[in-house]
Symmetry: C2
Subunit: 160 residues, 2 copies
Amino acid sequence: MLRVSKLTDYGTLVMSHMAGSPDRLFSVTELAGTLRLNTPTVSKVLKALGRHNLVTSVRGTRGGYALARPAGTISVAEIVDALEEQPFGLTECSALSGTCDLESGCRIRANWQRINTAVRGVLNGISLADMMQPAPVAVRPSSIATRVAPRVIADKLKTQ
Amino acid sequence: MLRVSKLTDYGTLVMSHMAGSPDRLFSVTELAGTLRLNTPTVSKVLKALGRHNLVTSVRGTRGGYALARPAGTISVAEIVDALEEQPFGLTECSALSGTCDLESGCRIRANWQRINTAVRGVLNGISLADMMQPAPVAVRPSSIATRVAPRVIADKLKTQ
DNA sequence: CAATATAGGACCGTTTTAGTCTTATTTGCG
DNA sequence: CGCAAATAAGACTAAAACGGTCCTATATTG
């Protein structure tokens, strides 16, 4: 599906909202209210983020959550890692059932892993602070692609 | 889960194998045999690829499948598009339930879409021929391996 | 002690995915 | 013509993932 889960989506929303007031605590109910999300869901997201030390929590009557670090030092990749259950990876393995002919499967697999790190690089390069900017963060789409296979890209851009 | 489906994985395997002999036809049973995949599954994959005109098919006794175009002109993004059901997109929408406070949700959403195109750019820049190379295709070494530094990267990359 | 909050985890319904199967259609060949 | 081989299309099933809820425990404040 090549899609980030809703939990990750909520995570970026919640964290970016908290980033607006880095010095105070937000309770789950407050966050759910202002962001129009369900309370248990927000709770689940924050618990997961807390386990990965992206947010800190304070229990008790006046407790709540806050970002563990400044928004500029938290990457989207970290949020994805915290909220997506399975470890990051575009494929589990291209050659699942034993060896296929000529190890070509393993070649494919190695290349998938390369693509993988490239995608991860994109996610790693965007911080929570970037996500909050009203103007879209500058992520040049073809910066990575261009130096790989220029001919393909040229063809694609013409036909799409 | 930010992962490509198994069908897509199979698709790259099957297509890269067919790319080895661009001038002949491969039957489903042959492909399944050499790649150690199940026949119906291979059939399913090829049917989907055929609907998207990535492979051509010939029915009948000596029929089979072949790549519709040279491997160098087929991008991984096209295979993903053909085999992933849902349209490409990392999030469906970051602000699902109406408007959240201050439109921050929509800001997040816009930025997810930017990230989206960047990821797609990566996939778009890799051709099937690249995937077949024994040496991993050059997808820009992950100089971004470590955390943080997002600000620097975001600034360095120019807007689309 | 009581109220308020998070922590952890179990639980369930829905959706998606992977895979199989059935039926129809096309083509080659004796 | 008629049979065999092959794809086309889609229905169907089992399993896994996802989204969401709920329950119980624990910590903090006053």
